[in-house]
Subunit: 356 residues, 2 copies
Amino acid sequence: MLKDMRLEQLNILVPEMKSFLSLRYRVLRNLYYFQPVGRRLLARYLSETERVLRKELDLLKKQGLVKVSRGGMELTPEGMNIVLNMRPYLHKLLGLTDLEEKLKGLLQVKEVIVVSGDMEVEQAVRYEVGRAGAQALCQSLRDNVVIAFSGGTTCAAVAEMMPFISEYKGLKVVPARGGLGEEIHYQANSIAARVAEKLHCSYRLLHLPDSLAEETLQALLQDPKIVEVLEVINSAQILVHGIGTAREMALRRGAGGEEIKNLLEKGAVGEIFGVFFNCEGEVVGQVPSLGLYLENLNTTLKNIIVVAGGKRKAEAIAAILRNHPRDLLVTDEGAAREIIRLCGGERDKEAHSCKY
Amino acid sequence: MLKDMRLEQLNILVPEMKSFLSLRYRVLRNLYYFQPVGRRLLARYLSETERVLRKELDLLKKQGLVKVSRGGMELTPEGMNIVLNMRPYLHKLLGLTDLEEKLKGLLQVKEVIVVSGDMEVEQAVRYEVGRAGAQALCQSLRDNVVIAFSGGTTCAAVAEMMPFISEYKGLKVVPARGGLGEEIHYQANSIAARVAEKLHCSYRLLHLPDSLAEETLQALLQDPKIVEVLEVINSAQILVHGIGTAREMALRRGAGGEEIKNLLEKGAVGEIFGVFFNCEGEVVGQVPSLGLYLENLNTTLKNIIVVAGGKRKAEAIAAILRNHPRDLLVTDEGAAREIIRLCGGERDKEAHSCKY
DNA sequence: AAAAAGCAGGACAAAAAAAGTCCCGTCCTG
DNA sequence: CAGGACGGGACTTTTTTTGTCCTGCTTTTT
């Protein structure tokens, strides 16, 4: 409490510190994920120009946090130490804790975790969101739990950042929905398999053709194997899902031009595993598929974790989470600030001008 | 401990913070002492150019710490709050605690307090040293204690910053030495009187002519009144004294050109109440006067507080305190860094380039 | 073994920020 | 009512930052 006041005073007296700090931490963070790496490539990762990055790197080298090696630049042990230990400190210093509180007030979520940066600007942020999501997931694991995963790059990041664990018995991982025409690596099936690998547990997959007509669907429901998998899916107690913007998802999931238009005209802004919502949180469309029943989100599921970030997704996140209760939202600063701007109406005076 | 590490990491990651922070705090601090005051005058107090000060003031205004009023600029309540509450925080942040530890190792002092800034550059620093000294003095007060004060601007600052107290009984304040030819306001006699006023206690003064021949001295020692005062002085348990550079003191105390040369040839670098020391801490000269016997510094005196600052005094402080034990040294950053540079031999890599 | 790609760091002009300097109209004080 | 100190505007000069391209080196790929 007292410490917070001091940090706040520091922020008042040296307001430029936030930009410096977040830029430099971003550099270190990217170095952490991609080392060894060169200046140019790093600049791309960070969406910064080569020159400003160079200045920062010179300073970080001078401070002994970064060293050059054959393949490019790397963190020194001190640099590594800072990346790993400073996170919670930055969290308060950059005002992320405040953002979390505001989001809790605006959305129907019990807990919120905001990661600094914007995954649209900086890839590493997706990893950080994934890391935070993975950590949260680990904490809610118990014996004999069924975990459902949706698809998407952010969920894939969660899977990737999961540690290897063999602490629990009887875990089972399943995809939340069948094939939805995404790239193989980001499909719910692949992700479920990857998570199961990390948890050393079993998994069930739901292999469906990409686009399903209504009649095919009915036919598939006759298949006892599929029905069995569906039963497992719908007995899940934990669900981890991402959120997509209606436009991008409709495109990616191969809906024809006509269909997209239709969806958007109905006011679709957000999507989760093939179901489209308008800004009131009402279902306005659905990709024909099989998997989790929406009703179960409020009944059998005990723990729903949402992972989604990036400024562009703010509207979608807000639309869905304002109307549908969730247990945890893991997002990034870009999305968080935009959500607050959209919902709050109150302008975010504190938003610092730097590019996260 | 953990918090310190975080601060250190912050310092590593944003090294320019120190300059920003100390400059801005200096501005606020001067505003605190001199408000309401204009930009030009303030620039003089801070030894900064008008333009840089203006930039800082604009920022501080934007941050709501400073407001303009008829007579110039003033602190807002928030600004006041920061000046008063941030001191201990800055202390760690600017590395003053480290300086204190180093000085303890280099000098024969039990405790050291280093105030940020340099009193040669910024007058307010003298007040801050005075404030710290006054606070320390207050803490060592007990009933029936005799306090001896030397002269000098810094001791005067201690007197000025003393709070009004009537908590103790039987206090008595005396000058450490008789008139040594300083300006009235900074004479030991005036200071003693002022302190007594603050402590609501009695005082005894030692009014002597400015320059004394040896024979006059002997004559004065026959005067029972003077002898009585001397006895009180030499029963003091607490002594607060400043330190002067040999050159300046010799000049100020009206020693003739020849005499000065003589003193300096003997290697005199420092002075305390009329006694000159070389860099080994040996007495090499003395202005004829009456007052505290040097031997008492090690016997009857329980608590000797030294207040002195400014880069130029570093040599004098080091010369005396390396060889004569003291209980507390209150100094400023300018002197502290210079002392470490002089004594340590090890270069002070950490010294930031800003003008304190 | 040759070629391609990625690397750090040098160089330099353009742009932006900071700093130095002078000025003006105003408000208070003596 | 005159003088001085006030904040703030304006302008030039200086310094710093930024964008961009190049060079020679090392590593990886072919």
